[in-house]
């Protein structure tokens, strides 16, 4: 059934599911998952050459025409994140950056102060900035205000699989957003991805839920379907909730 494309910074995407590549056991599994997800945009991290981190992912993306979205994962400060973004631009010839500035290793939650600072610098430097943020509507507004191309609030902390901890916050972010809202982090299963879209998010970004599932390609398929399902449900206008029942068969004579 027809749907508008997702438009970020003037660029159109047919898929509303953005996949992360972290956590996959090997490239073969990752490849099957990416294809099952039918994603058009996929995150990669930037690390030192020969540090043993899994490379080869780039060739994989190129081979399937999937756009890489570099992130600044692991950065703890604005300067670190800005440098990492510049390295990513140089290495991948893209000015798009998923901006992550985390506060600590235990929660991996974004640091609101450093994040906003880095976002402002990168926008000024010509980047298309997609910030990973918490679910605070005020911070989301401020990030959009400094020129971010989208806001990516978390459902719950990275890798927890706790789903959308605070749907009300996501709904408030959506209610006033002037840029696409992409639910990022915390999704554990398909119904949560569908809920994100029903709340009005424009897309969903997830990695662990797929790459660390028992059967990554099948979970990728599940997420692809769930994002479409939630999107259609949002557009279809759900029935209101009521306390008492309402018959779906005609009354009997």
């Amino acid at each position: 059934m027809a749907d508008d494309p997702l438009v970020i910074a003037g660029r159109e995407f047919g898929s509303r599911l953005i996949l992360g590549t972290g956590g996959a056991g090997n490239l073969a599994i990752l490849e099957q998952a990416l294809l099952a997800a039918q994603t058009e945009l996929t995150t990669v991290a930037i690390r030192r050459l020969d540090t043993g981190a899994r490379t080869g992912v780039l060739d994989l993306l190129v081979r399937h025409g999937i756009e890489p979205l570099p992130n600044t994962a692991g950065c703890r400060s604005a300067p670190e994140a800005v440098l990492t973004a510049q390295l990513a631009r140089e290495a991948l010839h893209t000015s798009w950056i998923k901006l992550e500035v985390i506060a600590d290793d235990r929660t991996l939650l974004p640091d609101p102060i450093e994040l906003l600072d880095a976002a402002e610098q990168l926008v000024d430097d010509g980047f298309t900035v997609l910030p990973y943020t918490n679910d605070d509507p005020v911070l989301a507004r401020r990030l959009a205000g400094v020129g971010c191309a989208a806001v990516m609030p978390l459902g719950s902390p990275i890798g927890t699989g706790l789903g959308i901890g605070n749907p009300h916050n996501i709904a408030m972010i959506v209610a006033e957003a002037q840029v696409p809202v992409i639910l990022d982090a915390g999704i554990g299963t398909a119904s949560e991805a569908a809920l994100a879209m029903e709340l009005g998010c424009d897309a969903v970004l997830l990695a662990t839920a797929v790459t660390r599932a028992e059967d990554p390609p099948r979970m990728a398929e599940a997420m692809r379907l769930a994002v479409q399902a939630g999107r259609h449900a949002r557009l279809a206008g759900r029935i209101p909730q009521r306390f008492w029942a309402q018959a779906s068969s005609p009354q009997r004579p």
């Binding site: 991290a45 992912v57 890489p68 390295l87």
Partner: protein
């Protein structure tokens, strides 16, 4: 002089060029970025960029993540 490349200490003749170092390192021609002393050095500037003693060279690439 001593230069640090991705955490390793290298002994190089004075006036060595970044380009030469990267060639010897076998850095691929694409998909990488280089920072010297914490600042990005565009690929075009590699050949002509002279390294000072004690310089820190880091070569980055894209890996699975996020």
């Amino acid at each position: 002089m001593t230069v640090t490349v991705n955490g390793q200490h290298w002994e190089l003749p004075e006036g060595s060029m970044l380009g030469d170092v990267l060639d010897r390192l076998g850095v691929p021609s694409s998909g990488v970025a280089v920072a010297v002393d914490g600042a990005v050095v565009p690929r075009a500037s590699w050949p002509a960029r002279t390294l000072r003693a004690g310089a820190t060279v880091e070569v980055f690439t894209a890996v699975q993540g996020g």
